[in-house]
Symmetry: C2
C-alpha cells in the first residue's frame, strides 16, 4: 500500500494453530502494557516491533565484534567455567550446593581469574562473550545474570588495549547512529571528579563543576557558623545554569535538599536563584559578604542564573553536585530546553586510585579488583601510603554510562601477594593464581564491556530489560515462570541442605 504496509489478499486459509481470542494485551497498539504484565507474557511482548528490533540489533552487533576479533585480530574465543570457587574481595556471588555435603560452587562474577590463567597458558589473545553472575538484588537496572565481552592480551600496555577497544567499537558500530570518532578523549579520575563530580561523566553536558575552595577558605564565617573545618579534605564547588532559574521549583529544591542530606551528609548544599537583588542573603547565612562577592565575580553570576553551591568534605561535595548537575539538566530538558550535545561522547577515565577507604579491619578496599597493576610511578607508596597509589585501570564511559573497564594486571607473584596482604585477603585462597604467576606469566591486561548496557545505549532503550529476551525483575524474579520457587525434599536431601521451614 502507499504507506509501505502490505495488504494480503487471501485465497486459501489454513489455521495451523488456533489462538485464544482474548490475549492479555493487544500487540498492535502504541500504548504498551505495564511492565509487570509485559514480563509475565514476555513471549507476547517479544512480538512488538521494538523488541524484535532490539534483539536483532544485539545479535548483529555481537557478531560484528566477533568478526573483528577473530577474523581481523586473531583472537581465540575460549569458554571458561561458571561453576568455580569464590573470588575474595568482589561482589556477592551466588552459591551452588553439590552432592558433596557442605561443599558449594560459586557462580563466577566474571572470567577474571580464568583469563589471566589463559595468558599464563600461552593463549595470548583471548576473548569471550561471557555470562556472569552477581547477586546484587534490588540495584537499579541490574540483572542476576548478565553478559560481558571479555578480552585479555599478553605483552600489552594500557594504550594498545584502548586502541583495540576503539577499533572494535568502530567496526561494530551501527551506521544509523552517525559517526564514531577515535581516539576517544582521556580524562584523569581526579579531573572527572573535579569537573563532573563522578567517574562516569556525561561529556555532552554544557555545564561543569567550578572549584571555589580557594575563595571560601579565606573566610572564617563558615567555620563559625557551621563548625566545618578547613582540613585537607575540604572543598567548595559550584554549578551554574545560566538563565535557567525559572524552571527551579520549590519541590525541586526540597527534593535536592533531601538527596544532599540523605546521601551526602558531609556536604552542605545551597540552592540560589540569582535575582536583581537580595539573592545574596541565601549565601550570607553561611559565608561572609566578601566571599559571596568573590564567588559572584568568579562565577560571573547574572540575574536569572541558577546556582548550586556545596561546601564540606570534598568527595561528598563533588558527588552531590555531580548528581544535581544531571538531575537539573534532565528537568530542564523535560521542559524542552536542549542542553546536551547530540550524539555519543566517549571518554576514557584513567589514573583511578588503586584502593579506596572502607570501614573494615584494614580500612581499605580495592577500587576495582585485587589484580590491577599499581601505577609504576607510585610503587614506592604501596607500603607507606597505599591510598595515594594509582592503578593502571581504565574505564570506558559514553554519555554518562559506564560501558566497560579494564586494567593492566599484576604479573609478578610477589607484588600480587603484597597487594592481597594490604587488602587483608587470605593468600591461601588465591594460591592457584600466585603459583601461576610464578610459572612465567607474561605481562598482560584486558578489558570487559558490559554488553547489556552497551546494546541498550545503541538501541536507545531506557532499560537493559528491553535488550534482554527474558530478563528478571528488580527482585530477581522471572514473572513468566515464577522462579525462584521452592524445591523438593529430594533436592534438599541430595544437596544436604535445610531451609528455614525444615
Amino acid at each position: 500500500m502507499a504507506t509501505g504496509e502490505i495488504e494480503i489478499s487471501v485465497e486459501h486459509l489454513e489455521i495451523l494453530n488456533p489462538s485464544k481470542t482474548q490475549l492479555p494485551f493487544p500487540i498492535r497498539q502504541f500504548i504498551k502494557a505495564k511492565e509487570s504484565l509485559r514480563m509475565q507474557y514476555r513471549y507476547l511482548d517479544l512480538r512488538f516491533p521494538e523488541m524484535q528490533r532490539n534483539l536483532r540489533i544485539r545479535s548483529k552487533v555481537l557478531m560484528r565484534m566477533r568478526e573483528f576479533l577473530i577474523n581481523k585480530c586473531n583472537f581465540v574465543d575460549i569458554e571458561t567455567p561458571t561453576l568455580f570457587r569464590r573470588t575474595p574481595g568482589g561482589a556477592q556471588e551466588f552459591i551452588v550446593p553439590t552432592r558433596n555435603p557442605g561443599k558449594f560452587y560459586s557462580l563466577v562474577q566474571s572470567p577474571q581469574q580464568f583469563k589471566q590463567l589463559l595468558m599464563v597458558g600461552g593463549i595470548d589473545r583471548y576473548f569471550q562473550i561471557a555470562r556472569c553472575y552477581r547477586d546484587e538484588a534490588g540495584r537499579m537496572d541490574r540483572q542476576p545474570e548478565f553478559t560481558q565481552l571479555d578480552i585479555e592480551m599478553s605483552f600489552v600496555d594500557r594504550e594498545s588495549i584502548m586502541m583495540l577497544t576503539e577499533d572494535l567499537l568502530v567496526e561494530s558500530w551501527l551506521e544509523e547512529l552517525g559517526e564514531i570518532s577515535t581516539p576517544f578523549e582521556q580524562m584523569r579520575y581526579d579531573d572527572a571528579m573535579e569537573l563532573y563530580g563522578t567517574d562516569k561523566p556525561d561529556a555532552r553536558l554544557p555545564y561543569k563543576l567550578q572549584n571555589v575552595t580557594d575563595i571560601v577558605k579565606t573566610s572564617i564565617a563558615l567555620t563559625t557558623k557551621t563548625g566545618i573545618e578547613y582540613n585537607d579534605n575540604f572543598g567548595a564547588y559550584a554549578v551554574v545554569f545560566p538563565k535557567e532559574s525559572k524552571n527551579f521549583s520549590n519541590s525541586t529544591k526540597a527534593q535536592f535538599d533531601d538527596i544532599s542530606k540523605r546521601e551526602f551528609p558531609q556536604a552542605k548544599l545551597l540552592q540560589v536563584k540569582i535575582t536583581e537583588s537580595s539573592w545574596k542573603s541565601g549565601l550570607t547565612t553561611l559565608l561572609s559578604n566578601d566571599v559571596v562577592d568573590s564567588i559572584e565575580n568568579r562565577l560571573n553570576l547574572h540575574n536569572g542564573d541558577m546556582l548550586f553551591l556545596s561546601v564540606g568534605q570534598k568527595p561528598d561535595v563533588q558527588e552531590v553536585l555531580g548528581k544535581l548537575l544531571i538531575l537539573y539538566t534532565n528537568i530542564l530538558e523535560s521542559k524542552g530546553v536542549t542542553l546536551r550535545a547530540p550524539g555519543f561522547k566517549w571518554l576514557w577515565i584513567v589514573d583511578f586510585p588503586l584502593f579506596s577507604k572502607e570501614d573494615n579491619e584494614n580500612g581499605i578496599r580495592t577500587t576495582h579488583h585485587p589484580f590491577t597493576q599499581p601505577h609504576p610511578e607510585d610503587l614506592h607508596l604501596l607500603a607507606t601510603d597505599p591510598l595515594k597509589v594509582r592503578g593502571l585501570h581504565y574505564d570506558l564511559v559514553s554519555n554518562g554510562w559506564e560501558i566497560g573497564g579494564g586494567s593492566i594486571r599484576i604479573h609478578n607473584s610477589l607484588l600480587q601477594k603484597q597487594v592481597l596482604e594490604i587488602l587483608g585477603i587470605d593468600t591461601c585462597q588465591m594460591s592457584h593464581l600466585l603459583e601461576a604467576l610464578d610459572s612465567g606469566a607474561p605481562p598482560h591486561g584486558g578489558i570487559a564491556l558490559g554488553l547489556d548496557r552497551y546494546i541498550a545505549m545503541l538501541c536507545n532503550a531506557t532499560s537493559i530489560r528491553d535488550v534482554i529476551a527474558f530478563p528478571k525483575s528488580m527482585e530477581g524474579r522471572d514473572a513468566m515462570s515464577g522462579a525462584p520457587i521452592q524445591i523438593s525434599d529430594e533436592d534438599k536431601k541430595l544437596y544436604h541442605i535445610r531451609t528455614p521451614a525444615d
Copy 2:
C-alpha cells in the same frame, strides 16, 4: 633451521617475569604428565601444542557455525537465562539458593523452554551457543557444565532441519579431515537396534547383528533347558567376526560374560570360537542340534570365525551384542587388525519411540523430553497404547557418537497437556508454556548439537576434557582451585540454608 624449527640468536635479553626453575612438569616432552597433575596445573598444560591446537580449532569451528547461521541463513543469536525454574521430567538440575528464604533457582539443563517461547514471540530463526548444566556426577566423559549449539525454527518439518544441520556441518567442517558428503543416511530406530544393538551406531563397523530369532524359536530345547519363554519380546541375535577368533582370550571371555550378566540380566550370552570340530558343544548345551545346524548355515560359519550369540528378552539381547560388537572390534584393532572404515560415517536416527517403559507410578517416561511432537500416523495410539507411539525426534550420530538431537515440538496446547498427563507431570508447573502455545504458537522444531563432543571428534581427542580450557574432574572437582569448597556462615545466613555440620 632445516627441521622447520626456528633458532633465535639473542643480542639483548630482558626478563619481564621470572619463572620458578622447577615447574610441576616439563612442557617439551612427549610423555605427558598424568591427568590429575595436568588438571591441577592446567595453565601449564595449556602450553602443550595439542591443547593450543584444540582450543584454536574450537574457536574457529564455532565461528564458522555462527557465520553460516547469521550471515547466510538470517538466524538471530539470542541469549536466554540460565537461572530459571526446574523443568519437570528431565535430568537432575543444580539449584541456586536466593535471598528469599526457601526459594531457589535451577540452572537450566538446556534452553528448551526459552527457545519454544521465542518461536511464540515471533523470532522464527533462533540459535545460541548455550551453556547448559546437568548434575550427573560420575557419568563418563560428562561435565557439570557443557556447551551446545541450540537451534529452533518456525514453520519447519523434520527434513528441513536435517538439511540445515547438514549444511551447517559442511560449512564449518575442517578441510584437513577430508570430505563430508551429504545428505546423511537415515536409519529408523528399530533398524539401528536390529543391526547395531544401539541407537548410536558406528556405521564404520564392517559387522552387524544378525537376527536368528526365527531359527531359535523352532526349538523347544531352550525353553526346557533355561525356562526362557518365547513371548512376543523374545529375541535371538548373533554377531560373527570372520577369521577373528585367534585374538579371543579367556580373559576377554570372562570380561564379556561379566558385562552380560551384570548389565543385561535378561539376555543369555554364548561365546564360541568356530573350529574344525566340536565347537557346536558350546551351543548344544542350550539349543537343539537342528537349531545349531541352521544357525551354522544362516551365519555361514567357518573355522576360525568368532561367534557371539545371545538369546532372551530382545532389548537386552540386542544391547549386549551391540556393546560386544564395539568392544571386540576395539580389541582387534588394538592388535593391529583394521576393521573400521576410514573417515566419518554420519547417520540420522529417526522414528524413536515417544515414550519408554519406566519403573514409576505411570510405568512410562519420555524418551527425550515432554515437548516432542508424536508422529502424526500414531496419534490414535496416544490414549490406548502410548508405548507404540513414535515421536518426531531425530538424533545425529557420527562414528558411534551422538553429536546432536532434536525434534518437531508440540505446538497445540491440548496435545501438550495430554502428553504431560500421560507422563504424570503436574500441568500447573508448565502453565506458562501451555498458555504460550495457546497464544498463536507457530509449528516449530529444532536441534541441539553437543559441541564439546563434536569438537573432540574433530580434534581426534579421546576425552572432551581435551577440548575444554578448564574442565572439571569426573567428580565435578576443579583440581586447580579445589572447588567446590565450604562456604562462610555469612553466606549460609544470607541464603537461609543450613548444612549437615550446622
